[in-house]
């Protein structure tokens, strides 16, 4: 076994062993421990757990790659996936914590005094969470197959087993403490290679500053200016100004991601685990610090990876890399099919350009940038091993949070809340464990046989959460009068129109050929891409809800009193005592 493989085994299985030990120590004995970790998690710890819960395989593996190839256009992900926390911290989290229940659909059911609203919320939650989890399972499979060279399916199976052990055993309590450990693993795995690369390229060890510095080659040229020059020479869009679609699309996309972030149930749930409203507010702050640590490094990783890639292929203008002399990482990724070269002009050298006719790098998958980055920059093997463990930590921590959101909405909202209210606590606990096991099997199956739409699913999950759950929660808190029927109609029309728009342009259930408006840009509503449509769906949700409320009348007076109660941190009945 070579050195790299040995280090990777140590990093991956060492971190798994740590998660198991934590899970055994933090077993859940009651529904309160299973759903909200007993409700006594400190704000700093909760902030770390939220960060790991939130930062998925998409943040860790895909985002820097997206930025590397989109440049300025990639900013929508950076602003969208962090700006949502401002909304969450001010518009939702403190009040939902005060109300003091276990799940998001439960809050919606109470506020809108309606079992229908609760069931609709469960449906929205399951659709959004299940689409999201497929991406995590794929991330686990890819990390295993690339780094440990085991079969994709076997890697997926190992990942499923690991999540099963600590999520089913420990519930929210086990998940919280493993997420804290996973945050530490993933943030080191992300920043250490970035520090090395920033040092190499600019001499500045802080990647956020390195990105704005001059190159260390003595030329005195700023890194970003050099990058702009290199990419435009080959016909690509200028790195620091190239847009993603038009301006309206970038604004709608950012807004969709922001309100989608604020409306994702598995993140909101984490705010139920702290002891007070004050702790809910401050854990949002800590969470955003821990997230910003990765999110401000990502643009540096993206830009530097792009520059290194360009430099490898064309060390100096007009001097292209000879294919036979390509480096080892190039060969490794060619094996996975994510990197492909085709010698079109037969000169044995690699020509890379934006022109489809002469471009010989026929495939450069964006997802490989973060994983290949340490190898491209010739970093030591232990750094590469760390990146593998970090990618797995990011995927597993998010998968666990999503599984808990799904299982609690079935066992607590559907079973205990609606269909079998006389379920004992012990049986409810058993039921949520069984549901979670089933959810792991379903998501594993979907990860193994990804449906045609898997590629775009994570972005879609945000659009769905943005158009259904976020508006219902926000209206419920900021309007005392908004009524049950209004919320039900709002959620259904918001998620309905978003799905309709996506299906119109990408095919019904993403089956190619069934899209009746075509996926092409000229048909888009104001140039807004289907992934960015959640913002429009949210506006529809708000509008429909207020219209219905005007026609059918306001919420009853007890409900208005309940709203007053959860708007203030102290006073009134703390509903959490009921459990």
């Amino acid at each position: 076994m070579d050195e790299l493989k040995l280090y990777t085994y140590i990093a991956v299985f060492g971190s798994f062993g740590m998660y198991f030990a934590i899970a055994w120590w933090a077993r859940a004995g009651s529904t309160k421990e299973f759903y909200v970790a007993g409700g006594g998690i400190g704000p700093l710890q909760n902030g770390m757990a939220i960060a790991a819960d939130w930062m998925s395989a998409a943040s860790f593996i895909s985002m820097a790659g997206l930025i590397a190839f989109l440049g300025y256009g990639g900013s929508v992900f950076l602003m969208g996936w962090t700006g949502g926390y401002v909304l969450l911290a001010m518009l939702l989290a403190p009040y939902m914590r005060k109300h003091g229940k276990f799940t998001v659909p439960e809050f919606i059911g109470d506020r809108y005094y309606s079992k229908t609203a609760r069931i609709v919320a469960v449906a929205c939650l399951i659709i959004a969470s299940l689409t999201y989890i497929i991406g995590q399972m794929k991330g686990v499979g890819v990390a295993f197959s690339r780094f440990l060279e085991v079969d994709y399916g076997l890697g997926l199976g190992i990942g499923m087993a690991v999540v099963w052990v600590y999520a089913v055993l420990g519930g929210m309590k086990g998940i919280t403490y493993t997420q804290i450990a996973q945050y530490v693993v993933l943030i080191f795995a992300y920043t250490i290679p970035a520090i090395f690369i920033s040092m190499q390229l600019t001499g500045n060890p802080i990647p956020q500053l390195g990105l704005g510095s001059t190159l260390a080659d003595g030329s005195g040229v700023y890194l970003l200016d050099k990058l702009d020059l290199v990419v435009t020479e080959l016909g690509f869009k200028e790195y620091t100004t190239g847009q993603l679609g038009n301006n309206a699309n970038m604004i709608a996309y950012t807004l969709s991601l922001m309100i989608g972030t604020a409306g994702l149930p598995h993140v909101i749930m984490r705010f139920f685990t702290v002891a007070s409203v004050k702790a809910a507010r401050s854990s949002a702050g800590y969470a955003l610090v821990f997230i910003a640590l990765l999110y401000t490094v990502a643009p540096a990783v993206g830009a530097m990876a792009r520059l290194n890639l360009m430099h490898t292929i064309e060390p100096a203008a007009g001097e292209n890399l000879v294919y036979a002399e390509r480096p080892q990482w190039f060969k490794d990724w060619e094996k996975t099919g994510l990197l492909k070269f085709e010698d079109k002009n037969g000169d044995g050298k690699i020509q890379y350009s934006a022109d489809k006719v002469t471009n010989e790098m026929v495939k450069v998958d964006r997802d490989i940038m973060v994983l290949a980055n340490p190898a491209i920059a010739n970093l030591p093997n232990w750094v590469i091993a760390l990146v593998a463990a970090g990618g797995l930590a990011a995927a597993l921590s998010t998968a666990a949070g999503l599984l808990l959101a799904i299982s609690s909405s079935v066992s607590h909202d559907l079973m205990k809340g609606v269909f079998t209210p006389d379920l004992s606590e012990k049986n409810e606990l058993l039921a949520s464990r069984i549901v979670m096991t089933l959810a792991i099997l379903v998501s594993g199956y979907l990860g193994l046989n990804p449906p045609g739409f898997a590629a775009g699913t994570v972005a879609l999950a945000f659009g769905l959460a943005a158009s259904s759950i976020f508006p219902a929660l926000m209206m419920g808190i900021f309007s005392r009068k908004i009524s049950g029927p209004a919320a039900v109609w709002g959620m259904c029309s918001g998620i309905g129109i978003t799905m309709l728009y996506v299906f119109m342009h990408k095919g019904i259930m993403f089956i190619p050929g069934t899209s009746f408006l075509g996926g092409l840009e000229p048909n888009w509503f104001f140039g807004i891409s289907p992934n960015a449509f959640g913002a429009v769906g949210a506006v529809v949700n708000f509008a429909v809800a207020f219209a219905v409320c005007r026609v059918t009348g306001p919420a009853p007076i007890e409900i208005q009193k309940m709203v007053d109660n959860f708007r203030t941190p102290a006073g009134g009945v703390n509903v959490a005592q009921d459990h």
Binding site: I67, Y72, G74, S75, L78, M79, T82, G83, Y85, V86, A89, M90, L91, P94, Q208, L209, L211, G212, S213, T214, Y222, L223, L224, D225, T240, T241, N247, M250, I251, T254, S276, V277, K278, R281, S282, A284, G285, L288, V289, A292, Y295, T296, P299, D564, R567, T568, P569, A570, G571
Partner: protein
Amino acid sequence: MVENHSSYWQENLRIISKCLIIWFIVSYGFGLVLVEPLNEIRLGGYKLGFWFAQQGSIVTFVALVFWYSFKMNRLDKKYGVEE
């Protein structure tokens, strides 16, 4: 209690509005709409609009959430509604 509650809520809404105005300006304003004029200004190797879109807005978001938490803790004390 009722009047007390409504003025507490009004003050909370004012703090939220201030935060969201700044939230909007740094991201949608500086990062997206005004990016081109701001790009004329440089911050080291960064064009300023690009910096807001990829760094500055995120740092501002962090500051906003902490500032909100600080202001609300003071407001809770003022109205005697802290836990």
